[in-house]
Symmetry: C2
Subunit: 440 residues, 2 copies
């Protein structure tokens, strides 16, 4: 395995960088500069920028493509022809499958197209033009605000930015968003209409919301009647381990119990279960919310791709089949995560120049560099052939106030490539950190 | 073949109903009433309400489902993996195929999801929230109007109605919309932002726009910079005959020539080529318009279903393969259209109580009853077991000012069923017409 560092003796004492003298830092910088020149010469070309499944994961789902063929019975369990118009809210067996995946009842689920992001976009777009269950359309309001736990998912923030919605950063802690702040905003400011959440194996930190956090969400007393929680449960069955798994409380049930039955929209998809772009997506919510959503859907489309719904329902059979399939994904993903974590631990442990998360599932590892270093680290990596998610992308407007957070996406490269890429990454972290300390 | 009428001697002289005496009308009504009671007793249960392909048409496309299987090379011609994220605007081979279908260049085409209706919805929705290429969002305007050639497609009208856009009826003549009226509105009223068109084998009349009409469209001088022609070319390759086919001028080229390159959006899909709900859809427009559309798409989705795009591109191979496939559709559709037209001609010819169209393609026959009769005819048919598209549906707000137009959709039933349904239909037309004349 290709390893850039440590050369013997390089920071051999593993002393925290902050404790080094200026002379030690200068000496270290010289070594790191040399290592970096060497690294650049290797001609790396690796992409850790997005949560793209790896080739081996895509291969896992190939047998699904045989399930529906020219000889297949194309009818649903209820006898509806999936090849023709009809079943606007999705075929029954696919609704059941995704309901089980999302931990809700079938009647609360509507199957949509291939992308849960598109459902989220539509949900915000509809609120702009038609309001929420009869409220004033947001486009008629002077100000609409969304709370954005940070670091978070860049594509959530892009949606709210696109529609001119003001975004407010909420620190994401180890057990979920800072709920004191969330309650303060939601319960007092009627311009706050939503909050973006990835409650399980959060993008990018990988943390999951504690039961207390979920209950505090369910018990919000929003100043705005059209406030909703945008609960993107993208990684609901995306565990890395058999024996260490996060579970979260059922937000729909908790909201019902708390007398807020309409307060949450849950989104999910099989993009990272079957095929990105050729999966099925779903929204789950209260029946009242679903009715309102369908009043839009019936204008928007005659129906989604039911043949693909049938393909998914027949291939996975049921939630157990799906979970078994996800175990195979885990077997492929785990070595990649561990390759990154091993290098981070070995190379940066105790140096005081970075901290990171060790998630039990999801698609990302989140890395916090010293303040003011993230952009420079990402740039240095890119210069040497490793593309990371742009620094700042995990914050609204692409602005990380501390310039500290970097999202690492280990899924696409092989474990060997991930180790190589991480070797370069830690070298860049060290180099930029030393430069930062020398500036100070 | 089951035939309700004519019993021998019934209106044997084929005299126009208007020329009958009151006594003759009363005698006729008695005969028709008896025939209707008889018809109700047959327990018909047929649906001519929507343009749903028939089972035999769906069967035609079944081999497509074998084209992609677990052994397939899943890469595009350019080497992109269709199973993963990427190719936001569609894979090259599918763009080329649909470009040829729509008669435009590949670069002017973006492939979307499974439904062109959804693209139209998105296009109007985006104009509401973001304007058109930088213009004021329509939601910020006091008044937005669309021109609606009538009779037209109900789902177009539902979109504009949903967004609170005022709809103005424009008579659809034999060669297209009344262009004097169109020019009058578009060139003078800056609140007029669009016009819904089905330029070829129009829904429901089946007429196609003449070259002169297309040129007059291209040469509009809109008062509103954000006026666009919504050109739903749904039936571009949906001919019924080999030797009698309509062709229309290329609106994108004509708009360019006329100095209005950005004035048109063209929509189409393979919903009635491969599978309704599991086809691919596309929008074609100027590069400037496409850029603006993609600035939305990139927020809305990470990409559409590329495996399905690959399935379509490989199955049809090219536009010739697609046209050959459509010939098989025509062989199935033609007898259904002819079954309807034969009965209409035989039973209503010369009676002065209805007129209808004989299209060379598309999915519909449009029938105009005597004024004030359409609702009653549809109700009578329903009572006896034949469901037609609701009277008025072909007009904005579901209001046919003359209560005259009825859309007949012959595609779903078999030719035999179509003949039976049409037998009932003409009986109801006669009965309601006689009642109307007796009232007068």
């Amino acid at each position: 395995m290709y390893t850039i560092i440590p050369e013997k003796g390089l920071v051999s004492n593993m002393k925290a960088y902050q404790e080094l003298t200026r002379e030690e830092l200068l000496a270290l910088k010289e070594q790191l500069d040399a290592a970096y020149v060497d690294a650049k010469g290797k001609g790396l070309k690796l992409d850790m920028s997005r949560g793209k499944p790896g080739i081996s994961q895509l291969t896992l789902s190939m047998p699904m493509l045989d399930v529906i063929n020219s000889q297949s019975d194309m009818k649903t369990v209820l006898g509806n022809d999936t090849r023709n118009y009809g079943d606007l809210d999705g075929i029954g067996e696919c609704r059941r499958l995704l309901a089980n995946m999302m931990g809700v009842e079938k009647d609360n689920v509507v199957i949509c197209g291939n992308s849960s992001l598109n459902i989220m976009y539509d949900t915000v777009s509809r609120s702009m033009t038609k309001g929420v269950n009869g409220s004033t359309p947001w486009s008629k309001l002077d100000k609409v605000k969304f709370l954005c736990p940070v670091p978070g998912y860049d594509r959530h923030f892009k949606i709210t930015e696109y529609f001119g919605i003001e975004m407010i950063n909420i620190p994401l802690l180890e057990d979920g968003p800072d709920m004191d702040m969330v309650e303060q905003y939601v319960n007092n400011d009627s311009a706050v209409k939503g909050i973006w959440c990835v409650p399980k194996y959060s993008n990018p930190t990988g943390i999951s919301y504690s039961d207390e956090v979920v209950r505090r969400f369910a018990n919000l007393k929003p100043a705005a009647e059209d406030f909703r929680i945008y609960w993107d449960n993208a990684y609901c069955i995306h565990h890395l381990y058999d024996d260490k798994q996060d579970e979260i409380l059922n937000i729909l049930e908790e909201c019902e119990k708390a007398g807020n039955p309409n307060m949450v929209y849950i989104f999910s998809s099989t993009s990272k279960v079957s095929f990105p772009g050729s999966g099925v997506s779903a929204i789950a919510s209260s029946l009242e919310n679903i009715d309102f959503i369908e009043s839009q859907m019936t204008v928007q489309t005659i129906g989604h791709d039911k043949i693909n719904q049938l393909r998914h329902a027949r291939y996975f059979k049921n939630i157990d089949g799906m979970k078994e399939h996800m175990r195979k994904h885990a077997d492929l993903m785990r070595p990649k995560f561990e390759a990154v974590l091993d290098v981070l631990e070995k190379e940066l442990g105790g140096l005081g120049i970075g901290s990171w998360t060790k998630p039990y599932g999801g698609y990302f590892i989140s890395f916090d560099a010293m303040d003011g270093c993230a952009k420079a680290i990402v740039a240095k990596c890119k210069e040497a052939g490793v593309v990371l998610t742009g620094a700042g992308a995990t914050f609204p407007y692409g602005k990380d106030p501390k310039d500290s957070n970097i999202r690492i996406a280990p899924s696409f490269p092989t474990p060997e490539e991930m180790a190589m890429a991480t070797d370069l990454f830690v070298l860049c972290v060290k180099l930029v950190s030393v430069e930062k300390l020398l500036e100070a």
